[in-house]
Symmetry: C2
Subunit: 469 residues, 2 copies
């Protein structure tokens, strides 16, 4: 699916003037610094500069910029917070990076219905601090303080998904600007009912579409009551197998655990060094329980028995909020902690996901490959979902090292597929995994996706060069 | 979106012979009785006969029949259990009714991963009785013993959705035969991981597509552990307001209630008569709690306090399985009970869904309209989702009555839309609500859905005349 866009030659000075007419002079930038900042996400992927960066202040801006780009065949790349890990916002074919991070209105909070409406620039932390006094929160938490509409776009998930689901399960409706500038609500204007059978589920077609079908400008998302009781714990195991077996058994017991995170000994070492902890350097689980006081007590008791049965020891409990926040803040900085193991490096993250019964096999095989290649490969997993990462610190100036890492990542994807799993549980395809998509889905399925893409974006201006080769 | 199919003139004797070559003589029927049986669902919608009924025995059959129909421009209507309520399987333009109910294999149960794979003819009761000894179950329960793939197709939900979600949240992957005969898995062949970000979410595009994009031949769905403790209760209220306020407060307290069903006094009367109960004839809630023994006790205690605070009385508890099954079996026969209020009538079901804070308003306004029109309108609701029905018994020979009912149903849909809700929470658009879809979604959104339809089915053979006008 080669894009019909040829190059950035279409972004002429006249085109830039048209952009300025729409959004105002101050909201268009062609400086190297701004283009550089918008030419890469947080991953190792090579920077690709857009020709111009446009800061939209309204849906109307987004709509008019899209129409202008569509009329002129100019690539249009939606930019949220730039915290992705598969090069989703890199301007591989040049064009306009449309930064929607300045649209930061929390449009409505319907506390009694457990939902809210946010503009594209509202980040998950913005929202949760705004909600603080309502007793509500939005739990999906990919670690980075990503924009919520960006999280929709990449189908983000993270540490709480085992209990609260991913973005797929938490978005009720989206306002979307299509490639030609039309503005739609995927479930009808301002609809926010919990269920609907009215027409196709366009909401979940846009969730995870990585900016290739349109630009998400508003999201109506579910909220949850802050649990009466929250208890976190860290527990260490003599072996990876013990930690993984514990995970599988906790889930199979039906404990409604809120977080169930695995860190291997290399990740714990990185964690200790970066976040000034002094944990035992061994395979570990970070757990969190949400519920009523007595409900949490019951969950904890069952989990403790399972942990002990698998050789877990040194339970460290964090019940007071400060201690808990310190623990999870550090856990969420693990990508940076792993990168800091090799100063000057960038993170290369794998992202496979398998049915939980296959976790032990793929984790052990992956660790074996890392060992054989003599690499530093800290492993961190949302193992409750069967999803885990190796956060390799990669030296960009060492192509041999990058090749070895790429080789392992590729092999892990193949193993995941062989075990009824996927090459990406939450980071998306971006530019990094386009070559794997046909293998995972089959040619006919991929062809159908391309047909869907063309139905939304016949001129192929929306984030070209992503998802599809 | 007029279909390009003109009529059933294309179903020639030569075409019938071709069908027989694919599936065998015994699996093609053109008898009036068989065509009649496949020309309508359980609703009041006028029967529309297919020209032929084909019983597929395999995916290969489905694929070849689809290709033949596509090559000849013959309408193709997937038929599961025929238990729909919006005329989704009626052959409004003739053509072939493709009955997939004989493909009844439970392909795999992965108990340790809480998932299973079923063929298109497996019904929800088939599956649950097959699972009985595993400690697992599939909770989505629309009442009728519908086929699971049919439930995918209509995005079914029902009484358990407040806790376990609708089909949208419970399908991991689908095998689908496209209009031209290609067979795809929407998330890649046999993939069954809990999370994926690999390409577009075609799975949830097919869920709720009502047979207009392809034929679902296999589904991989989530399973759940049977709760340690299950307690049901019925409680009566002096007013509708008390029952509805109780609903809203139970949800706002965060009780993880498994079922939360409303029946008004008219529905209770029908229920008593049809299922030989002797309940107090007043607005009532049917509740069910799932969890550990102590967890359920805690839920029940909080719920009881809320019920009492709203004037609820006469709590009737059903803790032993037999009593509970009798209660819910009767609750699930309520459509038939309501129809039996007027012998010889057919059911006309409304199906609006709103954010729960708007439930009191729309329920009271709807009841007022029924009263003013002097109609029998028993009201039954999955009120935990904000979704409720009036099951009007309608005399087909009384067009005036039908018009009055249609008028109220239409007005209820408009009120729901005005209150951020939908004209259909779970029954779908079918042929009954096509005229409302544009009002609900907006023209541009509807146009996008039509583009998606054309991307999958350019010759418009798949269940033509449904969803779109």
């Amino acid at each position: 699916m080669e894009s019909s866009q040829t190059s950035s030659a279409k972004v002429t000075s006249g085109f830039i003037e048209e952009l300025k007419k729409i959004v105002g002079n101050g909201n268009v930038s062609t400086t190297s610094a701004m283009r550089e900042q918008h030419g890469h996400d947080e991953s190792y992927h090579v920077t690709s500069l857009p020709d111009a960066v446009v800061f939209a202040q309204s849906v109307d801006h987004v709509s008019k910029v899209a129409k202008l780009c569509n009329d002129n065949g100019v690539p249009l790349i939606p930019f949220g917070s730039g915290t992705g890990l598969e090069g989703g916002i890199n301007a591989t074919l040049g064009g306009v990076s449309l930064d929607v991070s300045q649209m930061t209105k929390i449009v409505a909070v319907n506390a009694e219905d457990f939902d809210c409406t946010v503009e594209s620039g509202v980040t998950r932390m913005n929202l949760n601090s705004f909600l603080r006094d309502t007793g509500l929160w939005f739990p999906v938490d990919p670690g980075a303080d990503a924009s919520l509409c960006g999280m929709c776009s990449t189908s983000a998930s993270g540490t709480n998904a085992v209990r609260y689901g991913t973005m797929r399960e938490n978005v009720l409706n989206l306002e979307v600007v299509l490639a030609d500038g039309r503005v739609i609500w995927t479930a009808g204007p301002n609809k926010r009912c919990r269920k609907t059978s009215a027409g196709y589920n366009l909401t979940n077609l846009f969730v995870g579409s990585e900016g290739t079908l349109g630009i998400i400008t508003k999201a109506i998302i579910k909220l949850y009551g802050i649990p009466e009781s929250i208890v976190s714990a860290v527990v260490h195991f003599p072996s990876v197998q013990g930690a993984v077996d514990t995970t599988v058994q906790i889930l199979q017991c039906g404990i409604p655990i809120a977080r169930l995170e695995f860190l291997d000994e290399v990740a714990i070492d990185a964690f200790n060094k970066f976040s000034k902890f002094n944990m035992k350097v061994s395979p570990s689980l970070f757990l969190e329980f949400h519920g009523s006081s007595s409900g949490v007590k019951e969950q904890v008791q069952i989990a403790e028995d399972i942990v002990k049965g698998n050789g877990g020891e040194d339970f460290k409990w964090a019940t007071d909020p400060e201690e808990r926040n310190r623990l999870w803040k550090a856990r969420h900085e693990i990508l940076y902690a792993c990168t800091a193991l090799c100063p000057g490096s960038k993170p290369y993250s794998t992202d496979v996901c398998v049915p939980i019964s296959h976790l032990p096999e793929i984790i052990l095989r992956s660790k074996e490959m890392v060992k054989e290649a003599n690499l530093i490969g800290p492993m961190v997993g949302h193992v409750g979902d069967g999803n885990f990462h190796i956060f390799f610190p990669v030296d960009e100036k060492n192509p041999k090292e990058l090749d070895a890492i790429k080789d392992i990542s590729h092999k892990m994807c193949l193993i995941a597929m062989e075990l009824s799993g996927t090459c990406t549980g939450e980071h998306g395809i971006g530019i990094g995994k386009r070559d794997l998509l046909e293998k995972e889905l089959g040619k006919d399925c991929l062809d159908v996706m391309k047909d869907v893409k063309l139905a939304f974006d016949p001129k192929m201006i929306m984030n070209p060069g992503k998802v599809f080769l």
